[in-house]
């Protein structure tokens, strides 16, 4: 920095050169990882229709590659894209160079190292067994650390800003950084059993709730809020038009971050999750519709007066289409959260259509638009080929339409076939699960084709940007600014103790009092609610104070702004998670309590998780006629309380396994795992030859059992020898039984442990209310 001139009334004039090198790095990384993530996506899409594409190879099977696909596109593709956008726009919006080059570099290389670690560990089957939270614990710690480094660099830059007021994009970045840290840390709390394995501290319904609180808000605060921030910077820049409405920005920002965090339970509708949480998840998802559309409106209406530019400018084409896909996905989301719609759509390909409409349409297209806008500015050259960018747009759009159309048709077919009943609702119309698999096979091929087209578009982007940058001099932006006088500061107290915040808090307190408390205090809460509303309007009437003036002041104070955002996102999490964690699970089991796994069964369960079986098989029978007829009585709260992690699943490519135990003989599973099509003609499940070759890892069990005990599973103390003895006995019995059935395999092989686990599924004991009260008293 150099001081050029001094203008006393304006402060000191300084020239600032922005640090755009990290932007280039993150952008290139995003494109590279994006192509790899999408390539894996095309492969696993192919596997859904062609089982041979699993190549009978452990590290190429669907169950192991699907986590690689989701992690790569979320954390590597969108993650790096988000960082590029944030590093570029934040510097310009606050008129300050990124605070620390060192921190940017640690952030960049650390993040890439994490991704490389994920690419190695996930295909090896090293996983935590929770969707989008699969990475093993040492990598989780690295993610948290790197995220904190990113946060420090970001807030440090804000602290050094030469633009007192925070623009709406920055609000969204703040919400992203705070909330992702909170979600990620809580959902990854685990106790290690080795350097590569751990058990989550939450189990059963608690784990389900924490997982989907995280899973849903990973969508919200990793795939949505940062991209909205990026939209608020890059869209008006590209369109050269003012943002449509500042007021809409305020209302939709605060309502979005406050409401989003509550909506997680909509992933668990009609399950054994307590009813009040299901209702909360549903109504908050519905209330999310308007706040989400606020963002869409502010995006699309900013294009007013610039629509003619869409014909020539690929950047605006991508942005307009991306925002449109965002609008469709955020209307569909609340729709899918209605319990009765969800009963039909959940566990089917409808969910796949929904997320890919959003991921390919919103995230992928916003990324493409941003990259095409940035590349010429970062390398000081015209974009190599506008025609190629347009071709990318059309390939991508048609690809998305083919992909989602195939998945909608397939999802609706599955929903109809798997839920249909006859004979007055006492018999399934399609008792064979495979009927739904074989009827949708052609759609799986179509989906792979759509995905391939989308990938081809992205490869064109990579080529186009490479040609733009090749041989060009990297260019960093710069600006002359007057360093302003220090703005009037507002302390933390100023953020909280003021009319708007106090009234809002009171309204929320009374509203929750009405919703959660018993009759009398509930009634009093209504009185309080009305009184607060009246006081608020009278206060505004008499004092003639303008709340917008207070908000303008808040925008000049990053600390109280961040604190308020943090509180807004914390409330929903606290209200849902604390009661669920506090309520002792031992006495709250709906009359059924799971029988803990034997050591061999636990080893089998870890194999089940390693192979990623949960990616295709649920373990949760919902309170729906179709589910109960097909799989047995609906799942009770207590039947999975010792499951760390829970395995309720989110998609049924194959049937539910909650009550699989005892349904078929051991030999059925033996032949089925060796060649699923021998038992189930038409099945798309991979063969698992290595389970018949590899030995079960018994040596790790003492540690695993000790950790299970620590997290609350009632295992009695066993010596290492006793554990080995127990495993050998149980494995021997299964091996003998298999031998009798003509299926010979040594008892120490993994298939035996897996069969022992599968035969245990659904085994629980009845608990009388008195017993559960006694258990609670202990």
């Amino acid at each position: 920095m150099s001081i050029a001139t001094a203008a006393p009334e304006l402060g000191v004039k300084t020239r600032i050169e922005y640090d755009d090198a990290p932007v280039r790095q993150f952008m290139i990384a995003s494109i590279g990882w994006g192509i790899i993530g999408m390539l894996v996506g095309v492969l696993i899409a192919t596997q859904m229709g062609v089982w041979q594409a699993n190549f009978k190879t452990s590290w190429l099977t669907f169950g192991r590659l699907r986590p690689l696909h989701t992690n790569a596109v979320i954390f590597a593709f969108v993650g790096n894209m988000m960082f590029a956008g944030i590093y570029y726009s934040t510097q310009r919006l606050v008129k300050a160079r990124t605070a620390s080059r060192l921190l940017s570099q640690i952030h960049f290389w650390g993040w890439q190292a994490i991704i490389v670690a994920a690419v190695i560990t996930l295909p090896l089957g090293l996983t935590r067994g929770k969707e989008y939270a699969e990475l093993i614990w040492p990598i989780d710690i690295a993610v948290a650390l790197i995220w904190v480094i990113f946060a420090v660099n970001f807030f440090w830059t804000l602290a050094r800003r030469n633009e007192p007021s925070l623009y709406v994009a920055i609000w969204f970045y703040i919400a992203t950084i705070i909330t992702v840290a909170m979600l990620y840390i809580i959902n990854h709390l685990s106790i290690p059993t080795s350097w590569t394995h751990s058990y989550p501290i939450f189990g059963g319904v608690q784990d389900a709730l924490v997982q989907w609180w995280y899973g849903h808000n990973a969508v919200a605060f990793f795939l949505t809020t940062p991209i909205l921030g990026i939209m608020y910077y890059f869209l008006p820049k590209a369109a050269e038009r003012p943002v449509y409405s500042y007021r809409l920005s305020i209302v939709h920002f605060w309502s979005l971050v406050f409401i989003y965090i509550w909506a997680g339970p909509h992933h668990l509708l009609n399950t054994s999750l307590p009813g009040w949480l299901q209702s909360l998840g549903m109504v908050f998802s519905l209330m999310l519709w308007a706040p989400s559309w606020g963002g869409m409106l502010n995006g699309l209406l900013t294009l007013r007066g610039a629509w003619d530019k869409l014909r020539t400018d690929p950047v605006l084409k991508f942005f307009a289409a991306g925002i449109t896909f965002y609008g469709m996905a955020t209307l569909e989301g609340p729709l899918l959260s209605i319990k009765s719609v969800n009963a039909f759509s959940h566990y089917t390909d409808w969910g796949i259509a929904h997320v890919h409409g959003a991921a390919l349409g919103w995230n992928g297209f916003m990324a493409a638009g941003m990259f095409y806008w940035l590349a010429p500015r970062l390398w000081g050259r015209r974009l190599h080929s506008v025609a190629a960018a347009n071709m990318h747009f059309w390939l991508g759009t048609v690809g998305i339409l083919i992909y989602t159309a195939a998945m909608y048709v397939s999802g609706i077919t599955q929903g109809i076939m798997l839920g249909a009943t006859k004979e007055a609702g006492t018999v399934l119309s399609y008792p064979n699960f495979l009927d739904a698999v074989t009827s949708t096979r052609i759609l799986m091929h179509l989906r792979a084709l759509g995905g391939l087209m989308y990938l081809a578009g992205f490869i064109i982007l990579a080529w186009n940007i490479w040609r733009t940058a090749r041989g060009a001099q990297a260019v960093n932006g710069s600006i002359e600014v007057y360093v302003p006088e220090k703005p009037a500061t507002m302390g933390l107290g100023g953020g909280f103790f003021n009319a708007p915040v106090i009234y809002t808090t009171l309204l929320l307190v009374f509203l929750s009092g009405w919703a959660a408390l018993p009759t009398l205090p509930s009634g009093l809460s209504i009185v309080g609610l009305v009184a607060t509303a009246m006081a608020m309007s009278m206060h505004k009437e008499f004092t003639k104070t303008s709340w917008s003036a207070w908000y303008e002041r808040l925008l000049e104070n990053a600390l109280p702004f961040t604190a308020l955002t943090t509180v807004a996102v914390f409330i929903g999490g606290l209200v849902q998670i604390i009661p669920t964690v506090m309520i002792s699970t031992a006495n709250n089991v709906e009359g059924m309590r799971q029988i803990p796994y034997t050591p061999l069964e636990l080893a089998g369960r870890d194999i089940y998780i390693r192979e990623g079986c949960y990616n295709c098989h649920s373990q949760q029978i919902r309170t729906l006629v179709g589910d109960v007829l097909r799989y047995g009585d609906y799942s009770k709260l207590g039947e999975s309380i010792y499951d760390h992690p829970f395995q309720w699943g989110s998609k049924r490519t194959g049937p539910d396994l909650a009550r699989e135990g005892g349904k078929y003989p051991n030999s059925w599973h033996f032949f089925h795992m060796r060649d699923p099509r021998q038992i189930s003609p038409g099945s798309t499940m991979p063969d698992y030859p290595w389970l018949f070759r590899d030995k079960t890892e018994i040596a790790a069990l003492p540690n695993k059992l000790a950790v299970q005990r620590r997290i609350g599973v009632p295992y009695k103390m066993m010596t290492d020898a006793e554990i080995q003895e127990a495993c050998a006995t149980q494995a021997g019995l299964i091996a003998d039984d298999l031998k009798n059935a003509g299926a010979e395999v040594p008892p120490e092989r993994e298939i035996i442990a897996l069969i022992s686990y599968l035969q245990k599924l659904g085994k629980s004991e009845k608990v009388t209310p008195i017993e559960s009260m006694q258990a609670a008293a202990k």
């Binding site: 709406v168 003012p242 519905l286 500015r377 349904k663």
Partner: protein, 207 residues
């Protein structure tokens, strides 16, 4: 450290847009060239927001706060009980005679064969001679050798031996067709040999 050359491509900053009406008032603040209108919230958007909030309150009041609505697990039980009632009233009575008659009815057998091949053949083999599950064409029977015995075994399963309960999956009609199909391989009055169990062909007996 300073870069004297401006980026080649950067478009010039847009001229500040002039407001055309009160409604179009622009905020005074400009961020890196980005301006903001301060337009009123679209009415329909605001009503959507309010509407969903009101719906949330009503829904909560109905299902949670005052519990007028039936909890899902109770709704399920009621629905299934009602369904079973209706189905019981509609269905006729089966007996061995009727099943034997069905076992020579070509239409019934065709339907039974289809169900057998998709549901039963993976364990009992398509020719019914048994693999994981027992042979169904010999005269040895483990759980009774009359057609109604087979109806019971198929409907309720023999869970201890790995035979699933097919009642809720197939329903009475399909099960009767399957039973008829099985007994089309037998004759009325044929000798029944009760046995204790089934050993898979080629299997070595346990030591």
């Amino acid at each position: 450290m300073l870069n004297p050359t401006e980026p080649v491509i950067t478009r010039r900053e847009p001229d500040p847009v002039k407001p055309v009406s009160e409604e179009d008032s622009l905020r005074p603040h400009i961020y890196d060239g980005i301006q903001e209108y301060d337009k009123r919230l679209p009415r329909w958007w605001l009503y959507t927001l309010y509407g969903t909030i009101v719906f949330a309150g009503l829904y909560w009041a109905y299902y949670q706060a005052y519990q007028f609505g039936v909890a899902p697990e109770h709704a399920l039980k009621m629905e299934m009980a009602a369904n079973a009632d209706t189905a019981a009233r509609k269905s006729g009575n089966l007996d061995d005679d009727l099943l034997w008659k069905m076992s020579v009815d070509a239409k019934v057998l065709a339907a039974g064969k289809v169900t057998f091949e998709t549901t039963c053949a993976s364990c009992h083999k398509p020719d019914l001679t048994g693999m994981i599950g027992p042979n169904l064409v010999d005269r040895e029977w483990i759980h009774g050798g009359y057609p109604m015995d087979a109806m019971k075994t198929i409907t309720e399963g023999v869970l201890a031996k790995g035979m699933p309960a097919w009642g809720p999956l197939l329903g009475k009609q399909k099960i009767s067709e399957v039973a008829a199909y099985i007994f089309s391989h037998h004759k009325t009055g044929e000798q029944i040999v009760p046995v204790a169990g089934w050993t898979m062909p080629g299997a070595v007996p346990a030591p």
